[in-house]
């Protein structure tokens, strides 16, 4: 009995393959995200264990100041002095004590004058340590003189450097020339451990250039004498040097700490990517729902026959559910296999750019989770059709298969209510009546989307009819339009699958374009500068220029005001945040700084001007005293001299350049320049360029260009999002193909008739293509409308000056064109089927 029913399932191979493909794609994406994430993660864990293999205990300085959120974890500012090293040598059980100098930010300049970049890995610089078992000189000699360096082999390869060459390195100091004395590599023939680069200096040079302080170390590695455990040695070290100023970790702890940062990043990566896999699966659920509905509609007579033989409702229900479980499980298995393969390929690709890799990691939880999610979504999608199948009455075996479509009224009313509830939730959030973002934004948006999906069947005929007017003049077009309206539920569900991706992409596009417009407006209205010097976004947190250069800029004829801005994460008044050093007087012109209270004037060391929000929050007033903690400068007293009026461009406390010397890096990130006469701008620009000509990480541009650069990451983000959403679109296209194939199959007789009365093959194709394009356009249109609506709601809800509601017309139009193309692509196979139809078989087909 079951066997007979299952045979029914496998009779529709093509449609089954399409449904399975949707699940395969979704699960493959999901598992690939986890597999590659876990593999890379394992690679890093292995890497850090290797790095710390020879370290039993490591001592580092403790920093009070938060890490700059812009990056720079590898930039060491909490240092260990020689006195502590000496103390460590006296610790009982410390066999060897090796003080080290290693820090991020040694940028080697290549032959084109550009700083050699890595893909996210640090560019380390430090002191050469003789006898380190992990590092070996492959060619030449270790650095022995102040002007000598050894470089890692990967650096030598990318820069095409040989022993004896002269290279230039930017560190905390501007570029300096060194002679390459040797090429180094790691044990096991590795050019680099995980894509990082390393420049080895002599100890005093490393201390000066990488740590900024002579006689200091970044860390001290201690090897335990035999019989002393790592934990025991750690305790002894802690007793010797205390735990307030220095951090003592065992080698294992160090490895874990180093890996944990990457682990948490990889977790975000895994989850974010698998969300798109799940979105793909949800899109696939529409397709599966459609497929099962169609299969069951076609098999109504067959099922009724079983019922009349005495099969129970549950037997029918179970047989359909079993079909879906089988389908889901098999497809998820294939998806998982594909995912592992994809994950493997991805890690191999990343490994070629230097990321550590190893054998593929497939955690049992990932395997089970993938199978479970894939199968569960398939079964859920098949549930309603299965229930419908179980309600087939035995009498329907005798009835004509064609049953009229149920009226859409109930569905439409339910949809309107759902939509209304969603909108009310968003309004509640907008008016701040309810503050819970999950309930208001999350549930509200979800309900609006579901409401729109439920309304879609009722909208199908009006919308496709309206669009269809364009093609109504030709018979194939007209027939295609009419066919679209024949089964509004099916058409709408097929279109709804496309809606998912389009809605999300549109919402994001509206929000992003509003951010861009908002930021642009702010810049345009508040910034009164003609030229900008800025460290390149991609050059990392160590890049910048000597703030003193601004004094030379001020001397250029035509320059009326100029200031550098040097920012860093600090602790001010006990609160973690940013502070910036800038010249206050010129900033009044450049940024429109105005006093709310106290004096707004150039600052001396130990003085601070607070931004309005900071002052309000802390209650500090002009004349009050507070403290500043910087990464290198430690704690120092500050006196509040003034409070700024709210200003969009300067949104953090302002300190003097003298106090900024305690910042992590001695460079300014930005400089703004006002020129008296627009005609002088080009001349000033040229002179400014010569001032920073030897700094490859800094460019001279104008504000609009800088704005474009700083908002370009938004475009990048959007592009990544759209590529990832492409998965859902792909699945949705599979759904369109599926629906069309079914339609062609169902209408064989009609198609035959059309051929018999003289419709040509190509016209048959165009008829199918019309239907296909209309379905995709319907989905895209609904998605664009809902997405734009949600985007507008978000912009309104979050408000703020950095948001200015802007509809991305370009995106909307591109999406519509994309929908037409997607529709044409989806039509290809079904159209060929329709065109190839054997006329005689079609008309004699019962």
């Amino acid at each position: 009995m079951l066997k007979a029913m299952l045979r029914g399932l496998f009779a529709h191979k093509l449609r089954l393959i399409l449904s399975a493909l949707a699940i395969v794609l979704g699960t493959a994406f999901m598992s690939a995200a986890f597999v590659s994430g876990d593999t890379i993660s394992r690679g890093f864990t292995d890497l850090f264990s290797t790095v710390n293999e020879n370290i039993d205990v490591q001592v580092t300085g403790k920093s009070d100041v938060p890490v700059n959120p812009a990056g720079g974890e590898g930039l060491v500012t909490a240092l260990v002095p020689q006195s502590i090293v000496d103390k460590l040598k006296t610790v009982d059980g410390a066999q060897t004590v090796t003080p080290q100098v290693v820090s991020d930010g040694a940028r080697v300049i290549d032959k084109n004058g550009k700083a050699i970049a890595t893909t996210g890995a640090p560019r380390l610089g430090g002191a050469w340590v003789d006898g380190d078992p992990a590092v070996e000189i492959r060619e030449g000699n270790p650095p022995r003189a102040a002007d000598e360096v050894a470089i890692t082999a990967n650096l030598a390869k990318t820069g095409e450097f040989k022993v004896g060459d002269t290279i230039e390195v930017i560190t905390l100091q501007p570029r300096q020339k060194f002679k390459v004395s040797g090429i180094a590599g790691y044990a096991g023939g590795r050019d680099s451990l995980g894509g990082e680069t390393f420049v080895f200096f002599t100890l005093p040079v490393a201390q000066e250039l990488m740590l900024g302080t002579p006689g200091m170390y970044s860390n001290v590695d201690i090897k335990a004498a035999s019989g002393v455990s790592d934990g025991e040695l750690k305790r002894r070290v802690e007793t010797a040097i205390g735990t307030t100023e220095y951090k003592t970790l065992t080698g294992q702890e160090t490895a874990d700490a180093q890996a944990s940062g990457i682990q948490s990043f990889l977790n975000v990566f895994k989850i974010a990517l698998s969300v798109f896999g799940i979105l793909g699966l949800i899109t696939g659920a529409f397709l599966i729902f459609n497929t099962f509905s169609m299969l069951i509609a076609q098999r109504t007579r067959e099922l009724a026959l079983y019922r009349s033989f005495g099969a129970s409702r549950n037997q029918v229900l179970n047989s359909v559910l079993l079909e879906s479980i089988l389908l889901g499980l098999v497809a998820s298995l294939i998806g998982l296999g594909l995912g592992v393969l994809l994950g493997w390929a991805m890690t191999k690709l990343l490994a070629s750019s230097g990321l550590p890799s190893g054998s593929v990691v497939l955690k049992p939880a990932v395997a089970i989770g993938t199978l479970l999610v894939g199968t569960l979504i398939t079964v859920l999608a098949a549930l309603i059709p299965a229930l419908r199948a179980s309600r087939v009455a035995p009498i329907e075996a005798m009835r004509d298969a064609a049953r009229p479509d149920k009226p859409l009224r109930t569905m439409t009313i339910a949809g309107l209510i759902t939509l209304a509830v969603g909108i009310v939730l968003l309004i509640l959030r907008g008016t701040k009546a309810v503050d819970n973002n999950v309930i208001t934004l999350g549930l509200g948006s979800f309900l609006i989307f579901i409401g729109a999906v439920m309304l879609a069947p009722a909208l199908t005929r009006p919308i496709t009819g309206a669009i269809g007017k364009l093609v109504d003049w030709a018979m194939p077009g007209r027939l295609g339009v009419r066919n679209t309206g024949r089964n509004p539920r099916r058409t709408a569900l097929t279109a709804a699958a496309l809606m998912i991706g389009v809605t999300l992409a549109t919402g994001a596009a509206v929000f992003a374009s509003s951010v861009k417009a908002g930021v642009t407006d702010l810049f345009r209205s508040d910034l009164n500068a003609d030229l900008v010097i800025a460290a390149d976004f991609a050059s990392g947190p160590t890049a910048g220029f000597d703030p003193a250069i601004i004094n030379q800029v001020k001397a250029i004829p035509g320059v009326t005001s100029a200031t550098a801005i040097q920012s860093d994460a600090v602790r001010l008044n006990g609160k973690d945040g940013f502070a910036s050093a800038l010249d206050v007087e010129p900033s009044k012109t450049l940024f429109g700084l105005k006093a709310k209270s106290g004096d707004i004037r150039d600052l001396n060391a130990g003085e601070v001007i607070l931004n309005d929000a900071f002052a309000t929050e802390t209650g500090l007033k002009p004349g009050d005293s507070t403290t500043l903690v910087t990464a290198r400068g430690g704690e120092s007293p500050l006196k509040v001299v003034g409070i700024l009026q709210p200003n969009q461009l300067v949104g953090s406390p302002v300190v003097s350049f003298a106090d900024a010397q305690g910042f992590r890096v001695p460079v300014a990130q930005q400089g703004y320049v006002k020129v008296a006469d627009p005609s002088q701008v080009d001349a000033v620009r040229a002179q400014m360029k010569t001032l920073v000509a030897d700094n490859p990480e800094v460019t001279v541009t104008d504000p609009s260009e800088q704005l474009k650069q700083s908002t370009s990451f938004l475009d990048l983000l959007l592009n990544v999002l759209n590529v990832l959403l492409g998965l859902t679109v792909l699945v949705a296209v599979l759904g369109v193909i599926n629906t069309l194939l079914l339609s062609v199959f169902e209408r064989t007789r009609e198609l035959g008739l059309l051929r018999a009365v003289g419709m040509s093959r190509s016209k048959m194709g165009w008829m199918v293509a019309t239907e296909s394009v209309l379905i995709s356009l319907l989905g895209a249109l609904l998605g664009l409308i809902v997405g734009t609506g949600l985007g507008i709601a978000l912009v309104k809800i979050f408000g703020g000056d950095f948001l200015k509601l802007t509809i991305p017309w370009g995106f909307l139009i591109t999406a519509l064109i994309g929908a037409v193309i997607a529709g044409l692509v989806a039509a290809l196979l079904p159209a060929i089927r329709a065109a190839r139809l054997n006329v005689l078989q079609a008309i004699s087909y019962e």
């Binding site: 030709a474 018979m475 007209r478 027939l479 009419r482 066919n483 309206g485 024949r486 007789r749 009609e750 008739l753 059309l754 051929r755 018999a756 009365v757 003289g758 419709m759 040509s760 093959r761 016209k763 006329v839 005689l840 008309i843």
Partner: protein, 249 residues
């Protein structure tokens, strides 16, 4: 020169399958279908009536022999040629499922013209519509028409493009006798008054009696024919044919 027939079969052979399962559906059939005449094809079930009609209309290929519609040689035409032939020179009426459910009766009637991108000849179109006698039901979908009305729409559709010949395969097979007679009258009138050529396959002696000539088919061969038939005359011949079949067995 004698007037060219509207459709012509010359020693047409049609063989299905091969080896043991081989069926010779047509065995050297030759027949002329005169212009402006109403011909019925009759014969026992499985005698090859539908096959002959499909071969004549270019819906099916033949194994040997030649088929002409007017001066066009059908055998040897490619898909494009056959499509054009069906569009411009041939009309069809099937037993059922003749109409597209998404189009109204009127649109269905105009379908061949719309496909060809031709405007209907107004006078002729009005005449056809008049004869169909659908009145205000013209703007209804097929699902809202009776079986007889649907078949009359199908007839009108076949007529509207003034094809060289109309092929009808048991057009009244699914109708009661009243609706059937309506359809048959309609077809006969189009031959009498408008010079249409019609070839109709039927099982029904009464239907055949509307024709000018009846061709009898048995075992893939033309075995007999009757001019200006009456229902009784046809029945008579059919009985003879059946007896012949029995004698063969």
């Amino acid at each position: 020169m004698a007037m060219q027939p509207a459709a012509r079969a010359v020693t047409v052979w049609k063989i299905y399958g091969s080896g043991e399962a081989q069926v010779q559906a047509l065995r050297g059939v030759s027949a002329d279908f005169e212009r402006g005449k109403y011909t019925a094809i009759m014969g026992p079930s499985g005698s090859g009536k539908s096959t002959l009609m499909h071969c004549l209309a270019g819906l099916d290929t033949v194994n040997a022999g030649e088929v002409f519609i007017g001066d066009t040689q059908v055998t040897g035409l490619g898909d494009a040629g056959l499509t054009k032939l069906r569009r411009d020179k041939v009309g069809f009426i099937f037993q059922q499922f003749n109409l597209l459910p998404t189009l109204t009766a009127e649109e269905n009637i105009k379908l061949p013209l719309a496909i060809a991108g031709r405007a209907p000849d107004k006078a002729w179109y009005d005449t056809v519509i008049q004869t169909v006698g659908l009145g205000d039901r013209l703007h209804h979908r097929p699902a809202e028409l009776s079986g007889g009305q649907q078949q009359r729409v199908a007839c009108a559709r076949a007529l509207v493009s003034r094809p060289e010949v109309i092929f009808a395969d048991e057009p009244t097979g699914n109708l009661d006798s009243k609706s059937g007679n309506d359809v048959l009258n309609f077809l006969r009138d189009s031959v009498r008054h408008h010079g249409q050529t019609i070839v109709m396959v039927t099982h029904d002696p009464n239907a055949a009696s509307y024709a000018d000539r009846v061709v009898f088919l048995a075992d893939g061969e033309i075995v007999d024919e009757l001019h200006s038939p009456t229902a009784d005359g046809v029945l008579d011949r059919m009985k003879k044919l059946d007896r012949r079949g029995d004698a063969d067995a």
